[in-house]
C-alpha cells in the first residue's frame, strides 16, 4: 500500500509535479534505504572481524601462556628429574648398606650363638680378660740297655694355662701341671746298663707370675718363672718343642744340673729395636730369685740376646751366680754360670745351639752343649737331629746323646713325634762305658 505524502495538492499540474516529487522522494528514499541497508550489511562483518581478531589475540595470548607454562613445567621436570633419580638411587644404596649391616650383625650373632648357644657363659670374677689354654702330653718309651729293656707309657702330663689381664698393664699367668710320668733310669749300681722307668705322680705349679708392663723396654715379673737362660728352657713347653725330652742339662724336670730350670723371685726384662736399620732386636733379662731346691739362697743372673734383623740369627749370652744344694757347706758351694746360645730360624732351617759352662767353688766344673739342626720338609713335617754333650760334675764320665726325630703336625693343635736316641756313657769314676737306645713316640695336644 502506497501512502500519499502530506501537504501535496492534487490539481492537474500539481499532481504530476507531486507524483514526480513523490517518485523522486520515493526513489531517493529507496536509494537511501538501500544505501543504509547496504551500509548496515557492510557494517556487520567489520564488527565481527574485530571480535574474531580480538578473540584470536586472546587465543594467541593464551597459547603463549600455555607454551610458557609448558616450558616452565618442562624446565621444572628437567630440573627435578636428576634429583628424583639420584634420590631413588641413594635410597637403594642406603637400603643395600642397611642390608649389608644387618647381614654383618646376623653373622656376628650367628657366630656368638654357635660358640655359646644355650651354654653358660664363664665370667672372670674381676679381670679385663681371661684366657685359658693348656696341653696334654703323652709319650711311650722303649729303652734298650746293655742288660735289659723296658717299655712304658711313661708320660701323661696335663697342664692348664691361665692368663688374666687385670688392667691394661697388669697381667698374671699360671701353669698348673698334673703329672704322671717317669724318666728312663738305670737300676744297676753304676746307673747305666739296666733300664727302668718308675712312674710318679705330682701336681706342681710350674709357673705363676704377675707382670707389670711399664713399656716394651721395661717389664717386671714376680713369682715363679722359667729361668731366662738359653733357647729351649725359655721355650720349655712340649707343644712347641721338637724333642720334649729336652737336652741333658735341663734334666731332670725342675732340677738344676747346670742352672735351675725354674726359680721364684723377681724378673726384669725388656726389648728394643736397635741397629741394622731398626731391624735388630735387643732383649735383656735380669733376675734375682731362689731355686726351689735351695730356698734360702739367692740365684741371680741375666741374659742378653740380639736378633740380627731379618737374617734369622739370634745370638745370646747368659750369666748367673748361685749356690748348689747338694753340699754340706752351702755358703762355699757356689758357682758361676757362663753360657752362649745361637739360633738360626729362617725358611726351612731351624738350628738351635747352646753351650754352658759352670765354674764351681767346691764341685767339679760342669760343661754342657748341644746342637740341634732341623729341616722343615713340609710345613707339617720336620726332621731333626740333636747332638748333646754333658759333663755334670759327678765325676762319672761324660754323657753323649744323638737324637734323631721326625715330627708331624696334622693340625695346629696336635704335634706327633717319633724319636730315636742313642745314649753313650763314657768311662769315668770307676764306671765303664756303655750304650743305651731309646725309642719314643709322643703326642702333644694343645688348645
Amino acid at each position: 500500500m502506497k501512502d500519499k505524502p502530506e501537504g501535496v495538492c492534487a490539481p492537474d499540474i500539481i499532481p504530476a509535479v507531486r507524483r514526480w516529487q513523490y517518485r523522486t522522494i520515493v526513489k531517493k528514499a529507496s536509494a537511501g534505504c538501500f544505501l543504509a541497508i547496504a551500509l548496515v550489511i557492510l557494517a556487520v562483518p567489520v564488527q565481527a572481524n574485530d571480535r574474531v581478531k580480538a578473540l584470536e589475540d586472546k587465543l594467541n595470548q593464551t597459547i603463549k601462556q600455555m607454551e610458557m607454562l609448558t616450558k616452565e613445567l618442562s624446565a621444572i621436570k628437567k630440573s627435578n628429574a636428576p634429583v628424583a633419580k639420584a634420590g631413588s638411587g641413594d635410597i637403594a644404596k642406603q637400603l643395600k648398606q642397611i642390608r649389608m649391616r644387618v647381614d654383618d650383625v646376623e653373622d656376628v650373632v650367628s657366630n656368638v650363638e654357635e660358640k655359646v648357644g644355650s651354654r653358660a657363659v664363664v665370667h672372670a670374677f674381676d679381670a679385663l680378660k681371661l684366657d685359658l689354654g693348656g696341653f696334654l702330653h703323652i709319650a711311650a718309651t722303649h729303652v734298650v740297655g746293655e742288660h735289659g729293656q723296658v717299655t712304658s707309657l711313661n708320660r701323661t702330663t696335663f697342664e692348664l694355662l691361665t692368663k688374666a689381664t687385670l688392667a691394661e698393664d697388669w697381667t698374671m699367668f699360671v701353669a698348673q701341671a698334673f703329672i704322671r710320668e717317669g724318666s728312663p733310669t738305670f737300676k744297676d749300681p753304676q746307673g747305666r746298663t739296666d733300664p727302668d722307668i718308675n712312674l710318679g705322680l705330682s701336681a706342681p705349679t710350674v709357673i705363676a707370675w704377675g707382670n707389670y708392663r711399664y713399656s716394651d723396654k721395661l717389664q717386671v715379673q714376680a713369682g715363679r718363672f722359667i729361668t731366662p737362660h738359653g733357647i729351649i728352657n725359655i721355650d720349655h713347653f712340649p707343644a712347641v718343642l721338637l724333642d720334649t725330652e729336652q737336652p741333658q742339662f735341663l734334666r731332670p724336670f725342675g732340677g738344676a744340673t747346670m742352672f735351675p730350670n725354674f726359680v721364684n723371685g723377681v724378673h726384669l726384662y725388656g726389648q728394643a729395636f736397635a741397629g741394622m736399620d731398626g731391624k735388630g732386636l735387643l732383649k735383656y733379662h735380669l733376675f734375682g730369685a731362689n731355686f726351689a731346691g735351695l730356698a734360702t739362697e739367692v740365684t741371680a743372673g741375666g741374659r742378653l740376646a740380639y736378633t740380627l734383623g731379618d737374617t734369622g740369627w739370634t745370638v745370646g749370652g747368659n750369666y748367673s751366680y748361685g749356690e748348689r744344694a747338694n753340699s754340706g757347706n752351702r755358703d762355699q758351694n757356689d758357682y758361676h754360670l757362663f753360657g752362649g746360645d745361637f739360633l738360626f730360624d729362617r725358611g726351612r732351617f731351624l738350628w738351635k745351639n747352646e753351650i754352658f759352662y759352670t765354674k764351681e767353688n767346691l764341685d767339679q766344673n760342669r760343661f754342657a752343649a748341644y746342637t740341634q739342626p732341623a729341616f722343615r720338609i713340609t710345613p707339617r713335617w720336620i726332621a731333626f737331629h740333636r747332638f748333646d754333650w754333658l759333663e755334670n760334675g759327678a765325676g762319672f764320665g761324660q754323657q753323649m746323646e744323638n737324637a734323631t726325630g721326625l715330627t708331624f703336625k696334622p693340625n695346629k693343635n696336635v704335634h706327633l713325634r717319633t724319636i730315636h736316641t742313642h745314649k753313650h756313657f763314657f768311662k769315668g769314676g770307676g764306671r765303664r762305658a756303655t750304650n743305651a737306645h731309646l725309642f719314643q713316640a709322643s703326642a702333644t695336644l694343645s688348645f
Binding site: 649389608m100 649391616r101 654383618d104 650383625v105 653373622d107 656376628v108 657366630n111 684366657d131 689354654g133 696341653f135 694355662l161 691361665t162 692368663k163 691394661e168 697381667t171 699367668f173 708392663r213 713399656s215 716394651d216 722359667i226 725359655i234 721355650d235 720349655h236 713347653f237 707343644a239 712347641v240 726389648q271 729395636f273 731398626g278 731391624k279 732386636l281 710345613p379 707339617r380 703336625k409 695346629k412 694343645s446
Partner: protein
C-alpha cells in the same frame, strides 16, 4: 726380510695386547689399606710402618714408636684381605702363623689379635682406642669415619 703391511699391523696389535697385559694390573688384584686410629700421630716411612705393623700384629712388641700401646684387630684368614696381609705384610705361612701363636700362648699367654668380620664394626673398634689398628680391602673401607685414618696401602 720383507714384512708386509698386514703382517706389520698384526705384529703391532699382538705386541700391544701383550704389553698391556704386562703393564695393566690384573683385574682381580685388590688394594688394601692398613687403618689406624686418627689420634695416633705415628709418622714413619712406609717401609718402617710395614715392619712396625708386622711386629705389633704378631705381638712381638706392644708399643707403637710414639709410645702408644697397640691394639691389633685381625680379619678372617680366609678373606682376601687376610690372605694379602699375611703374604705381603706378615710374610709368613699359615703353619708359621700357627707355630708362632702356639709358642706365644704357651710361654706367656699372648693370643692372636681378635678377628673382626665386619668392616663397619672394625672401623668402629679402631676409632675407639688410640693404639688400635687393622686392615681392610680399600673399597670396603669406603669413606672412613673421622676417627680412623689410613696408615699405608698395599696390594696383593
Amino acid at each position: 726380510m720383507n714384512i708386509s703391511l698386514h703382517q706389520l699391523r698384526l705384529w703391532i696389535a699382538v705386541s700391544s695386547v701383550l704389553g698391556l697385559t704386562l703393564i695393566v694390573k690384573p683385574a682381580n688384584a685388590d688394594d688394601y689399606v692398613v687403618l689406624v686410629n686418627a689420634a695416633n700421630d705415628i709418622k714413619e716411612t712406609e717401609t718402617n710402618a710395614k715392619r712396625i705393623v708386622k711386629r705389633l700384629f704378631l705381638k712381638e712388641v706392644t708399643d707403637w714408636p710414639n709410645g702408644v700401646t697397640s691394639l691389633p684387630f685381625g680379619r678372617k684368614s680366609s678373606s682376601s684381605a687376610g690372605k694379602a696381609f699375611a703374604a705381603k705384610i706378615l710374610q709368613i705361612t699359615e703353619t708359621e702363623w700357627d707355630t708362632h701363636w702356639l709358642r706365644m700362648k704357651q710361654t706367656n699367654g699372648k693370643t692372636p689379635p681378635r678377628v673382626v668380620g665386619s668392616t663397619r664394626v672394625l672401623l668402629r673398634q679402631i676409632g675407639r682406642k688410640k693404639g688400635a689398628f687393622s686392615y681392610a680391602v680399600a673399597d670396603q673401607a669406603g669413606s672412613l669415619p673421622s676417627k680412623v685414618k689410613i696408615l699405608f696401602k698395599f696390594s696383593d
